[in-house]
Amino acid sequence: MSEFEPKIVAFLCNWCTYVAADAAGVSRFVQKPNVRVIRVNCSGMVDPSYIVKAFVSGADGVLVGGCWPGDCHYVAGNIKAMRRAPLLKKLLRELGVEELRFRLKWIAASEPSQFAKTVNEMTEEIRKLGPFKRKKKSAKRSAA
């Protein structure tokens, strides 16, 4: 029986984390192959709808990668991402998405090892959680 392989959707900022992901490959860091990368111009353009849609479409985890605060190519896009994450996390938790499944991470272009480490950690944590299932009603049809 094959082990559960989590699907992780990663929205990576074009200027930092995407470059780090590229460099992680070039530097031959060992990485789990569970991440599907979507390149975006800035972590600040990742609307919470994208993240919700990723889960709805079958992702087991979502990673948003951006530049460190102060390093944003567009001055403050990553601050916007930082403002959104806690409220979105709260909503996701209420809708039955475990906290570890969504992560916002700052990874600079010069930190490819950090990217590999994040991917590996996240894959293992989500593997432990199991596949993402939509919250289901536990109640059966009760006869009155």
Binding site: D47, P48, S49, I51, V52, K53, F55, V56, P69, A76, I79, K80, M82, R83, R84, P86, L87, L88, K90, L91, L92, E94, L95, G96, V97, R134, K135, K137, S138, A139, K140, R141, S142, A143, A144
Partner: protein, 341 residues
């Protein structure tokens, strides 16, 4: 005025799990209710006429269905009205999106452990409640629905426009133009040219409530989350900017900004605006992007101020529009040919 009874449309009105405010809304059409009597014969209206189920004829022209599907009795009513009606219209937020009864889906268990005694309970204190469905649903998740009239309850003008367009079809051109004047252009054009609007039409506007809200929008900065009684000042300024969770950004327009006009934040009773994927996620974006802070601890503090986020942002739409919880809509089958009729 002497139209034969055979020309009158047969109208059925029913509320499943709901507060019946939608049926009140129909009565609240004032003098128009009398007009309605000229065009339609209410053959089945338990709330107003006490019609029993046995009296439901097999050839209803238009059925106005309000209320969510929460019990086995609701499901039977939906199936029965679908089978016997040419046009099935979901009236109100409950029938259209699940409404307030749909909030039950946020709870861990849909069924209460024990039925609470009610006033009309038999002696043993256990009323005969119909079996609960595993989750609350909107009408279109049980049977195919032809039209939607959202709102809690639907606003008079849209409800009357929908009734005119669907019930009084072809009866009087001047009435149709009245209905058309109250609807978005594509729907209005369909009605004016004497055909039914496309199946699945929602009788509401095309944009978000902000589009018709009269308040002044300045720079958005969201401070602490406030409840309406704490914050409302008669400034005419955007309510979201004043720290109220106003959901106009994510909600379909059509109401004309009734609530926001008097300082009450939009609660989202018209459902999500067409361009939006998930109303809760959109509201999270609208609120949190403008948090007035760039420090993680302060933001965490602001987030703590929000109570029952899912219940607030999906207040009327958990069963149908909360994409992480929603069940798929019923597949269009037998209803399709009938409604073209």
């Amino acid at each position: 005025m002497n139209r034969g009874d055979r020309q009158k449309k047969k109208l059925a009105v029913y509320t499943a799990t709901g507060c019946r405010a939608c049926e009140q809304g129909i009565l609240d059409l004032n003098y128009e209710v009398n007009e309605l009597g000229r065009f339609a014969d209410p053959v089945f209206w338990p709330y107003v006429l006490g019609t029993p189920w046995e009296a439901l004829p097999g050839d209803v022209d238009v059925a106005l269905f309000a209320g969510a599907i929460r019990t086995a009795a609701d499901r039977e009513a939906a199936l029965s009205l679908r089978e016997k009606s040419q046009l099935l219209v979901a009236v109100g937020a409950c029938a259209a999106f699940g409404g307030l009864p749909g909030l039950a889906n946020l709870a861990d268990s849909a069924a209460p452990a024990e039925a609470a005694p009610t006033m009309d309970a038999p002696d043993d204190g256990k009323p005969a409640v119909p079996a609960l469905e595993p989750e609350a649903m909107c009408l279109s998740q049980v049977v195919p629905v032809d039209y939607f009239v959202p709102g809690c309850p639907p606003t008079q003008n849209l409800l009357w426009a929908a009734v005119l367009a669907l019930v009084c079809r072809g009866e009087s051109p001047s009435r149709l133009s009245y209905a058309a004047a109250r609807l978005p252009e594509p729907i209005a054009e369909a009605i004016a040219s004497g055909v039914l609007p496309p199946r699945g039409t929602i009788f509401a506007g095309e944009k978000a409530v902000c589009g018709s809200c009269s308040r002044v929008k300045e720079e958005k900065k969201f401070g602490t989350c406030k409840r309406p009684y704490e914050a409302y000042q008669e400034t005419g300024r955007c309510l979201l900017e004043q720290g109220l969770v106003c959901q106009g950004v994510a909600t379909q327009e059509g109401c004309g900004g009734l609530c926001t006009g008097v300082g009450v934040p939009c609660r989202g009773c018209f459902g999500k605006a067409p361009a939006i994927f998930d109303p809760g996620a959109k509201m999270v974006a609208a609120i949190s992007s403008t948090f007035d802070s760039a420090k993680a601890e302060e933001i965490a503090g602001l987030v703590d101020g929000f109570v029952d986020l899912a219940g607030t942002l999906y207040r009327y739409s958990v069963p149908a529009q909360c994409s992480l919880l929603a069940a798929p809509a019923a597949t269009p089958d037998q209803g399709c040919d009938r409604c073209r009729g």
